[in-house]
């Protein structure tokens, strides 16, 4: 079953916390440049799955391979943007310092400026279009700007696989579109495999190649066009879901009382995206 081409290969992975199974028999694989959405409600195990892939959580069974490596050797092949990294308090750290820590933050000793280091940081800042605010403190940036910097931090060592935990939560509509566009660019232009968790799949519909859907510890996976269908989604969610196609655009909405819709739209703005 193992795909020799796969960047990420998750095979029959199970994770249990004391007295509580979280994931059971999760299998999927992602190829280079594939953009995958990890979809599920809060508490469905999205963060646990990402942490297990990273090696921060030990699985109770199964294997994770990245570029064929399953041990600690896979660490250098991954970049990671953790969930809800709120810098509420003042941090004496410029955005560019955070990016530089992505390059050599694990090394001992003080860091001294070097031309190579500066150039790599500049290139990365340019790639995420963050040069304008590179010298501001990370804690003074907006949520979307902080997300860009964290993506640059994760990407500066040129990983094959980028894992992001709810990067779109708490962002305004414009910032969501920016971040989705940036991630799509990394997948398409640079061939980076991207696994991004989200509780709302709408913002990702135009760019996602594949969906891993988590519920009750199990995963369902498929290509986006196979999964995003009324009957498939309704079965997965256990609730009637409408997939609406208008002029080649796709919209996923939960059928509910009409008076709930305006509130829902305010909290989780509905995005209408092109299917490529």
């Amino acid at each position: 079953m193992t795909d020799p081409m796969a960047t990420l290969d998750v095979e029959q992975l199970s994770v249990a916390f004391p007295g509580r199974p979280v994931l059971r028999d999760v299998s999927f694989s992602l190829r280079p440049g594939e953009f995958c959405g990890l979809i599920g409600s809060n508490g469905s195990g999205k963060t646990t799955l990402l942490r297990t892939i990273l090696g921060l959580q030990a699985p109770s069974a199964g294997t994770v391979r990245i570029g064929g490596h399953s041990g600690a050797g896979r660490r250098g092949l991954m970049g990671y943007v953790p969930q809800k990294i709120g810098f509420e308090t003042e941090m004496p750290l410029r955005a560019r310092d955070v990016v530089a820590l992505g390059l050599d933050g694990a090394r001992l000793g003080l860091s001294f400026p070097s031309r190579v280091r500066t150039r790599k940081v500049e290139e990365m800042l340019e790639a995420v279009d963050a040069q304008a605010f590179a010298d501001q403190r990370i804690s003074d940036l907006s949520g979307g700007q902080q997300q860009r910097i964290l993506i640059a931090h994760a990407m500066i060592r040129r990983p094959k696989l980028l894992l992001l935990d709810e990067p779109l939560a708490n962002l305004d509509v414009a910032a969501v579109a920016d971040i989705v566009h940036l991630l799509h660019w990394f997948a398409h232009e640079e061939g980076i495999t991207i696994l991004v968790s989200a509780h709302d799949m709408n913002p990702l519909l135009g760019v996602m190649d594949r969906i891993v859907y988590l519920a009750q510890g199990r995963a369902a996976t498929g290509r986006t066009e196979e999964v995003v269908r009324t009957e498939v989604l309704s079965r997965l969610y256990g609730h009637h879901i409408d997939v609406i196609r208008v002029h080649g655009r796709v919209l996923v909405v939960a059928a509910g009382a009409a008076d709930e819709i305006p509130i829902a739209m305010e909290r989780h703005p509905v995005h209408v995206c092109e299917i490529p």
């Binding site: 953790p82 941090m91 933050g105 000793g109 010298d135 003074d140 940036l141 700007q145 931090h153």
Partner: protein
Amino acid sequence: MTLFDAIVAPGFFANGPVQTALLVGGGAAVISAAIGVFTVIRGQSFAGHALADVSSAGGSLAFLVGFAPLWGFLGIAALAAMALEAVGLRRARERDLATGVVFGAGLGLTALLLHFAIATRSSSGAAISVMFGSIFAIPSGVVLPALAVGAGGLILLGAIWRPLLLASLHPDLAAARGIRVPLVGLLHLLVLSLAVTLSAMTVGAILSTALLVGPAAAAVRLTRSAGQAVLLAAGLGLVACWGGILLAYDSYGWTPGRPWPVSFFIVSLIFALYLLSGLRRPARLREA
């Protein structure tokens, strides 16, 4: 009488205890301010305060048994640092509760040890000395070991600089890079215990939090990078510490024969610097 003479009372620099105080106090100010920047960023100033209070048990033990307070403070502070990290509570609330209970127990032990020290060795100044410092009573032989402790702390801080910054930014970011986050946390607390030891001798166990948190908090407000923050905090700490020693020396002439305590001056200067830092903050550029 020149202005210089008016500010610096005659004999200040020639005075042996003053020279010792300037050296040990300066070392305490620099190491406290440097590690304090990380303590402030990590939101662990309460742990810093607790370490200092618990270390007072070591200071009192030194009085009771009769060895140099430096080693008493150091031994107990290092043990407490390891205990704090071993408890390893993740949630901030639980951590604060555990810290509070532990430092209460430490102070209770201090009360007992001081009671015995005063009863058996008739060293009635022990309590004031342990709690509020006795910088002019430091024997000159302590200067070298004290500065060595400070330098050791700075070297250790320099060694773990980047992993500590990354772990302070977000523990998972560090762990994903293979950094052993609990070990980095322990080393932070160990450097903290070295700093607390020196400042306990300078301004006393209770007030050492001021030297740890005050200059660092002011510097974190005013700077954009961790390196700048540490340098500025060290500068502010030195100004407060040396300024306090000078004022205390001057105060011999204000109320003849009854000089004011150094700790009062140092802590007041830190407080003033912290208030001043609130006036001027870096321009916060508008958000996109």
